[in-house]
C-alpha cells in the first residue's frame, strides 16, 4: 500500500511511455538498461574510441591516442607510442586466447603486446603488406591483418608472411577494412571496401568474392539475392549460427552459405544504413551505426536500438517487434554517443566504442523484467516504470 502511494506520487509529471502488446517472454530481446561510460573525463586518452576487445575480466579499447586497459571498473592503464606502441591510432585489437598476447592494428603498423612489452611490425621491417591497418583477428597461430592495401597473414610459428591484394586475389579494390575467421567453416572472411565480402577457403587456399548483384551503388534492386552493397565496412562471424555478417554504408547483410538476409532502415528496426561494424553471436547480430547501436535477433526478426535520447543524459531503447510495431523505453544512463564504431561482448555485458567514449552496457535482469511487465499491463505499470526510471536518475546523480 505504501509502495503504491510512493509510485503514484513519483508518477506525477513523468512522461508516460508508449505501450503495445508485448510478445511472450521467450521472444523478448535482452535489454541493456544501464550504461557506464569511459570518456576523457575519467581517464580515456582520447574521445574517439575505435574498438573494444574483452579479455576475461579485462577490456582493451583502442582510441585515436593509444589504447587502454579497463580493469575493476576504471581505466587502469594507457599505452601510447612513448611506451613502445607503433602508432597512436589504434583501430583494432585482437586477443590471442592461446598465448595471452594482444595484436594491435594501428595506422602505423602492427604491434604485439606480450608480457608487458611491445614488438612492432611495419611494412618496411617485416612482410606486412601495409602499415594502415583497420582490422586484426586471430585464427589459431595465424594473425590476420586487414590493411589498406589488402590482407596480410602472419604465421607466428614460422614467421612467414602471406599477402593478398588485387594482384593475387579477387579484390576489386584493395582496402581491407575487417577480417573475421570462421573456424567451423574453415574459412576467413574479409571486408573489402569497394570489393565486397571476400571469403578465403583455408583448405583449398582460394578466395571467393561476394559482391552486390545489382551493381547499383544507390539502389537495392535484387533484395536478398546477394550482398547488399559493395562498400563493406566490416565483417563478423557467428559460429553458432554459421552466419557471416557484413556491414556496409548502405545496409546490413547476413549470409548463411546459401541465402542472403539484407536489412535497410526503411523496413526494419535498423538505426541507420550507415554501419561501421557488425558483431554477432548466438543467432544475434549487432550493428554499429552512425545513429545508434542496433541489435537483431534475426530468427524472430526483433530489433532493439540504443541511442542517447534527445532529452539530455537519458538513454533511449527502441524495440521494433516482428510485426513492425515499436516500443520505446528510457533509461537514466545512455551510450556515450550515437556514432558507434565497434563493440565486443563480455559475458552478458557489451562494450561499445563510440565517437565520444567507451560505453559499458550492463544488462539488469530485474529492471528488464519490470520494463516488460510495464509494457504488458499498460498505464499502471507504466507508472511503475516511471518510478523505476526516476529511481535510476536519482541513483546516477
Amino acid at each position: 500500500m505504501a509502495a503504491t502511494k510512493l509510485l503514484t506520487r513519483l508518477a506525477m509529471g513523468i512522461p508516460v511511455l508508449l505501450m503495445v502488446t508485448a510478445p511472450a517472454a521467450g521472444q523478448r530481446p535482452p535489454l541493456y538498461t544501464r550504461w557506464e561510460n569511459f570518456t576523457v573525463q575519467n581517464g580515456m586518452p582520447d574521445e574517439k574510441v575505435f574498438c573494444a576487445a574483452a579479455d576475461g575480466d579485462r577490456v582493451w579499447a583502442g582510441t585515436e591516442n593509444g589504447f587502454v586497459l579497463i580493469e575493476n571498473g576504471r581505466v587502469a592503464r594507457v599505452y601510447q607510442p612513448k611506451d613502445g606502441l607503433v602508432n597512436r591510432v589504434v583501430m583494432s585489437i585482437a586477443v590471442d586466447p592461446r598465448t595471452g598476447d594482444l595484436w594491435i592494428g594501428t595506422f602505423g603498423g602492427l604491434s604485439r603486446f606480450s608480457g608487458g612489452q611491445f614488438k612492432n611490425y611495419t611494412n618496411l621491417t617485416s612482410g606486412l603488406l601495409n602499415d594502415v591497418i583497420y582490422g586484426v583477428a586471430m585464427q589459431d597461430q595465424f594473425v590476420w591483418v586487414a590493411t589498406t592495401a589488402g590482407v596480410s597473414r602472419l604465421n607466428t610459428d614460422t614467421g612467414e608472411w602471406t599477402n593478398w591484394s588485387e594482384y593475387n586475389a579477387p579484390f576489386h579494390e584493395p582496402w581491407a577494412y575487417g577480417v573475421a575467421p570462421a573456424p567451423n567453416q574453415q574459412k576467413v572472411y574479409a571486408a573489402v571496401w569497394g570489393g565486397g565480402l571476400c571469403e578465403y577457403d583455408l583448405e583449398r587456399k582460394v578466395w571467393r568474392p561476394h559482391t552486390d548483384p545489382d551493381e547499383e551503388m544507390e539502389m537495392v534492386l535484387f533484395r536478398n539475392q546477394g550482398l547488399i552493397h559493395i562498400i563493406v565496412s566490416n565483417v563478423a562471424y557467428d559460429p553458432s549460427a554459421q552466419m557471416v555478417w557484413a556491414s556496409t554504408y548502405f545496409g546490413l547483410s547476413g549470409y548463411d552459405g546459401r541465402d542472403w538476409h539484407n536489412y535497410l532502415t526503411k523496413d526494419s528496426g535498423l538505426a541507420s544504413d550507415f554501419i561501421n561494424a557488425p558483431k554477432a553471436r548466438r543467432g544475434e547480430v549487432w550493428a554499429c551505426t552512425d545513429k545508434g547501436l542496433s541489435y537483431l535477433n534475426y530468427k524472430t526478426n526483433t530489433w532493439v536500438t540504443y541511442r542517447p535520447s534527445k532529452q539530455g543524459g537519458q538513454g533511449e531503447i527502441e524495440v521494433t517487434w516482428p510485426e513492425g510495431k515499436k516500443s520505446k523505453f528510457h533509461t537514466a544512463t545512455s551510450l556515450a554517443h550515437n556514432y558507434i564504431l565497434n563493440m565486443d561482448f563480455q559475458g552478458e555485458d557489451v562494450w561499445v566504442a563510440t565517437a565520444r567514449g567507451l560505453s559499458h552496457g550492463i544488462r539488469e535482469l530485474q529492471k528488464e523484467a519490470l520494463l516488460y511487465a510495464a509494457k504488458q499491463t499498460g498505464q499502471r505499470h507504466g507508472h511503475s516504470y516511471c518510478a523505476l526510471a526516476q529511481a535510476d536518475r536519482e541513483k546516477s546523480h
Binding site: 598465448t99 595471452g100 604485439r112 608487458g116 612489452q117 621491417t125 610459428d157 614460422t158 591484394s165
Partner: protein, 623 residues
C-alpha cells in the same frame, strides 16, 4: 715427393688443404652438455651431444650404468616429477625422445618446433615446455596425447628453460639479444610463462647483455631469486681497448620475479670477473640446497666460481644497481673459490643432499666432482669417451679457450656462440677509430668461402685467425703455428644445420618457387633489362654458397665507412644470421631492400610489389 710434401705443408693454403684431408674417421666424442639429477638423487643423467645419447651415472660408484640412443644433437634432459620418465631434446631432429627411466628404453618420439634445446615439464608432469632455438618460440606439448598444443613466441634463440620451485612459472632465457639499432647497446630477454594457463606472463628486458644462459633459482631461504649467467659486450667502443681490459665482461643477472599483479620483475647485474683476470663463457649455474653457495661455470676459462650468496646479497645492497654492471671489483667480495675444471665446463648440478657438485666438461668427456664441504675438486669422472685427441678436437678446444686473449677476456666462441653469430655489430680494428663497424658473421659452413673479413682482405683463415686475431682482437701472442692449424681445421669442419624452411624432399612451396624466379630474373616487372652486375645470381651464384667470393659495392656503405665494396657474404642459412649488411644495419631481410636499397644498387627491387619481396625472402630462406 718428400720435398713436395714439405713445401706443401709450409704454405698456409697447403696447411689448410692438409688439415681438411682427414683420412681417418673422427672418433665419437661424447661431448656431455647437460646433466640433471633424478629426484631421488640415485642417478645422474648426462646428455651427450657428440654421440646422440643419454647416459645414466650412478653417483655412488661414479660409473655409467645405462645408455640410450636419442635423436640428432641432443641438448637437454627434463625429468618427470615422479622421476620415471626422461625427455631429451634433439636439436637437429626437431624432436624430443621420451625415455623410460627404469629401462632406459625409448617410449615415444614427440614432434617439436625448430631446434629444440632447453625443456622442462610442469609440476603435474602433464605438459612439456620446449624452447625452439631456430623457431624462436616455445612448444607447449600435452604429454598425455603427445601432441603440441601451441607455441609461444620468444626473442631470438631461446635456449634454457627452468620451472620455478612453486611450479607457477616457466622461465626461458635467450642466447641472442633483440634485433635493435646497430649503434646501440644490446638488450636481452627472459620470458616468464604462466605454467597453469600456458600463456605469456612477462617479458623481462635485461639491458647491455647477451648470451643469457642456464637459469638457477635460489632456495626460498635466501629469497628465491633467479641467477642467470651472461656476457656484457662493449661492442660499440673500438676493440683496441682490449689491451686496457673491460671490453668483454662476464657475470650474472639476479632477477627477483614479480610477486603481485601490476608489478614487474626487478633485475640486477653483477660481474664475476676480476680487474685483471676474466672468466669467459659464464654458462652453468646451480645453488646448494642450503643456499649458502652458488656455482657458476666459466666454459671458456675452464673453471667454476663458488659464490658465497650472503656476501653476494651484501654486495647487491652496497653498490647502486646502475653502477654494479660495470664494477670489476665485485667478484672479490663474494667469490670464495675458483676451481679448475676440464675443457669447456657447461652444466653444473648439486646433489640433492648437497655434498657434491658435478660439472660436465664437454670437450673432455669427463665430469668434475666438487666436494662442497671442502670446496675442492674431489674427482674427475671419465665417461668413457675416446682417449685419442684429434686435430679437430684440439681445434675445438682452442676455439672455446679464452686464455689466448689478453687477461682471458674472450675466446672465439664468446662472440661466436654455437659457432654462429652473437647478433651484434662490432667496432673492430680499423685505422680510423669508430669507423667501419662490422656485423658479426657466422662460422658455420664457411669452408671454401674465402676471402674473409668484410673488407675481403684476409685471403684465408690462417690470416684471419692467426696474426689478425693476435694483433687486433686478442692483443696477445695468439696461437702458435700448430694450434693455428688445429683451429683452422676445426673451423673448416663446422657444418651447417638442417634448413628448416626447406621441405625434406627439397620441393619448394609456391611462394618459394615464385621467389626463386625473382632471384634469377633478368628483367623488371615492366620488361626492362636488369644490368648484368645487378642481378642477384651474379654476386650470389648458387654453385659457391651463393657468394661470388669477391667484393662488391652495393651502395650499403654509410658515412662511417672508409670503404665501399664489401666481401659478398654467403647466403647459406641466411635466415639464421640477422642482422644483415656489412654493419648489421638491416635488422631483417626485408630491410635490406625496403630501407637500404633506395637506389636499386643492391639488385633491382624498386619495381617489386610487397608480395614479390616476400616471395624472394621465402626463397632466400631455403638456401
Amino acid at each position: 715427393m718428400i720435398v713436395a710434401e714439405v713445401i706443401r705443408s709450409t704454405s698456409p693454403l697447403a696447411a689448410v688443404s692438409a688439415a681438411q684431408t682427414v683420412t681417418a674417421a673422427e672418433p665419437d666424442y661424447l661431448s656431455p652438455v647437460e646433466i640433471k639429477f633424478a629426484p631421488d638423487g640415485r642417478r645422474l643423467y648426462i646428455v651427450c651431444e657428440g654421440t646422440d645419447s643419454l647416459l645414466a651415472l650412478d653417483p655412488a660408484t661414479r660409473r655409467v650404468v645405462a645408455r640410450a640412443r636419442v635423436g640428432n644433437r641432443p641438448k637437454d634432459v627434463a625429468i618427470s616429477p615422479d622421476g620415471k620418465t626422461l625427455y631429451v631434446s634433439n636439436e637437429w631432429s626437431d624432436t624430443v625422445s621420451e625415455i623410460a627411466a627404469a629401462s632406459f628404453e625409448l617410449r615415444r618420439t614427440l614432434k617439436t618446433g625448430w631446434g629444440p634445446v632447453g625443456l622442462v615439464t610442469d609440476r603435474a608432469g602433464t605438459t612439456l615446455f620446449v624452447a625452439n632455438s631456430i623457431g624462436n618460440n616455445v612448444s607447449v606439448i600435452d604429454l598425455r596425447s603427445g601432441k603440441e598444443t601451441k607455441r609461444l613466441m620468444t626473442e631470438r634463440c631461446p635456449h634454457y628453460v627452468a620451472l620455478s620451485r612453486d611450479g607457477k612459472h616457466v622461465y626461458v632465457s635467450n642466447l641472442l639479444p633483440h634485433l635493435g639499432p646497430y649503434d646501440e647497446p644490446p638488450v636481452s630477454e627472459l620470458l616468464a610463462i604462466n605454467a597453469d594457463s600456458q600463456t605469456v606472463a612477462e617479458r623481462v628486458f635485461i639491458p647491455g647483455v647477451i648470451e643469457l644462459r642456464r637459469i638457477a633459482e635460489a632456495p626460498a631461504s635466501i629469497g628465491s631469486y633467479l641467477l642467470v649467467p651472461f656476457m656484457r659486450p662493449k661492442n660499440l667502443g673500438p676493440l683496441i681497448r682490449v689491451g686496457q681490459g673491460w671490453v668483454v665482461t662476464h657475470g650474472m643477472a639476479i632477477l627477483r620475479p614479480a610477486r603481485a599483479a601490476d608489478t614487474r620483475t626487478t633485475v640486477s647485474q653483477v660481474l664475476l670477473d676480476d680487474i685483471d683476470r676474466y672468466y669467459a663463457g659464464t654458462c652453468g649455474a646451480a645453488f646448494t640446497p642450503s643456499g649458502q653457495f652458488a656455482l657458476v661455470t666459466a666454459s671458456e676459462a675452464n673453471s667454476v666460481a663458488i659464490i658465497n650468496t650472503a656476501r653476494l646479497a651484501a654486495r647487491l645492497r652496497q653498490v647502486p644497481a646502475e653502477e654494479l654492471p660495470n664494477r670489476l671489483d665485485s667478484a672479490g667480495a663474494f667469490v670464495v673459490r675458483r676451481l679448475p675444471t676440464g675443457h669447456d665446463p657447461r652444466s653444473v648440478v648439486v646433489s640433492p643432499e648437497g655434498r657434491f657438485a658435478y660439472i660436465a666438461n664437454r670437450l673432455d668427456d669427463t665430469l668434475t666432482v666438487i666436494n662442497l664441504s671442502e670446496l675442492k675438486v674431489a674427482d674427475t669422472v671419465d665417461l668413457g669417451g675416446p682417449t685419442q685427441i684429434t686435430q679437430l678436437r684440439r681445434g675445438q678446444r682452442l676455439f672455446h679457450d679464452a686464455r689466448y686473449c689478453f687477461q682471458g677476456q674472450f675466446a672465439c666462441s664468446t662472440c661466436h656462440p654455437n659457432e654462429h653469430v652473437d647478433g651484434l655489430a662490432w667496432n673492430l680494428e680499423t685505422p680510423q677509430l669508430g669507423r667501419d663497424r662490422v656485423d658479426n658473421r657466422t662460422l658455420r659452413g664457411i669452408k671454401d668461402t674465402a676471402p674473409f673479413k668484410w673488407s675481403g682482405r684476409n685471403p684465408d683463415l690462417q690470416t684471419q685467425c692467426g696474426p689478425r686475431i693476435a694483433k687486433f682482437l686478442f692483443r696477445s701472442e695468439g696461437f702458435n703455428p700448430q694450434e693455428l692449424e688445429d683451429l683452422v681445421a676445426y673451423i673448416n669442419s663446422i657444418p651447417l644445420p638442417p634448413n628448416r624452411h626447406l621441405a625434406p624432399n627439397g620441393e619448394l612451396t609456391d611462394a618459394q618457387e615464385r621467389g626463386k624466379r625473382i632471384f634469377f630474373r633478368e628483367a623488371t616487372n615492366d620488361g626492362r633489362e636488369i644490368p648484368f652486375n645487378n642481378r642477384c645470381y651474379v654476386c650470389h651464384p648458387p654453385d659457391s654458397h651463393y657468394a661470388m667470393l669477391a667484393g662488391a659495392d652495393v651502395g650499403a656503405a654509410n658515412k662511417y665507412d672508409t670503404i665501399k665494396a664489401f666481401d659478398v657474404p654467403q647466403l647459406d642459412r641466411v635466415y639464421e644470421s640477422a642482422p644483415y649488411l656489412h654493419n648489421g644495419e638491416a635488422l631483417g631481410l626485408e630491410e635490406i631492400w625496403t630501407i637500404f636499397n633506395n637506389a636499386d644498387t643492391h639488385g633491382v627491387t624498386s619495381d617489386m610489389r610487397k608480395e614479390q619481396l616476400n616471395d624472394l625472402i621465402e626463397f632466400l630462406k631455403t638456401l
